[in-house]
């Protein structure tokens, strides 16, 4: 892509409040609006919506606070979620479908099914999950862009002076 080496990928960061159930879903909703406005295909928007929704809910349900960053790269969407909290003692166990550490309040609202991380994995093209006990969790995932979706990226880039 011409000029890509001088271009700054689109980047936006959102703050997520731990326990902030009133605003649950608002961040993933904003990400979805950005992607729809940019003209990405329905499939890409749907997969990104699902993955960011699950990531956002994990921070709200289990962490003290977190940041979600959306990067739109020339050939992929990348989302990084960093949170501060108790962390995940066993990442492999956390990835297992049905495993949940949700409280009753979380369950009452319909969250805590123990499927959030596997939903992210199944709807994205790559996922990294690491955690430090007592500090927090780092989650990254990528959705590859193909064909017409790649054309949507160019107008989003700013150019370095």
């Amino acid at each position: 892509m011409t000029g890509a080496e001088n271009s700054i990928p689109f980047h936006e960061m959102f703050h997520i409040g731990g326990g902030d159930f009133t605003n649950a879903g608002s961040i993933s909703s904003q990400v979805k609006k950005i992607l729809i406005r940019a003209g990405f295909s329905r499939g890409v928007v749907r997969r990104a919506s699902i993955a960011t929704f699950e990531a956002e809910m994990n921070v709200i349900c289990y962490a003290n606070r977190g940041n979600l960053s959306l990067f739109i790269m020339p050939d992929a969407l990348r989302v990084i979620v960093e949170d501060e909290g108790v962390g995940i003692p066993d990442v492999d166990l956390a990835m297992r479908e049905g495993y949940s550490t949700a409280t009753e309040k979380i369950h009452e609202l319909g969250f805590g099914a123990g499927m959030g991380l596997s939903n992210i994995k199944n709807h994205t093209d790559g996922m990294i999950l690491t955690s430090k006990i007592g500090q927090g969790t780092h989650l990254e995932f990528v959705i590859s862009l193909e064909g017409k979706d790649k054309e949507k990226v160019v107008p989003l880039f700013a150019t370095r002076e």
Binding site: S29, R46, S49, I50, L109, G110, G112, A113, N119
Partner: protein, 114 residues
Amino acid sequence: MTVFDIVNSFGLKIRAGKNRLAEEVTGGYAGDLLSDVIAHSRKGSIWVTIQTHPNIVAVATMKELAGIILAGGREPDADTLKKAEEEEIPVLVSPLFAFEVVGKLYQMGISGTG
């Protein structure tokens, strides 16, 4: 079979999404855990739940569901209705409990696997 056919068949009340009642219903899903619905529901399905908060609309939109039936006489939150109108997702209410709602849908020929 459309959402409208279902509304008429067992007298559901329409709370939102009047413009989308002609949508074809190709299956059904019942569940109150949102990630479970995200994982297993299919596009075009009608969703039976007792959750009433706005995230049910987010889930229905993400999965392109035909509509939501709130069972047990539950009413959607005000924010839920607002979001449902924005996203054009039919939200319907039944006084019947979920088990009976699903039973009636099944009798109408709506199968879970879609």
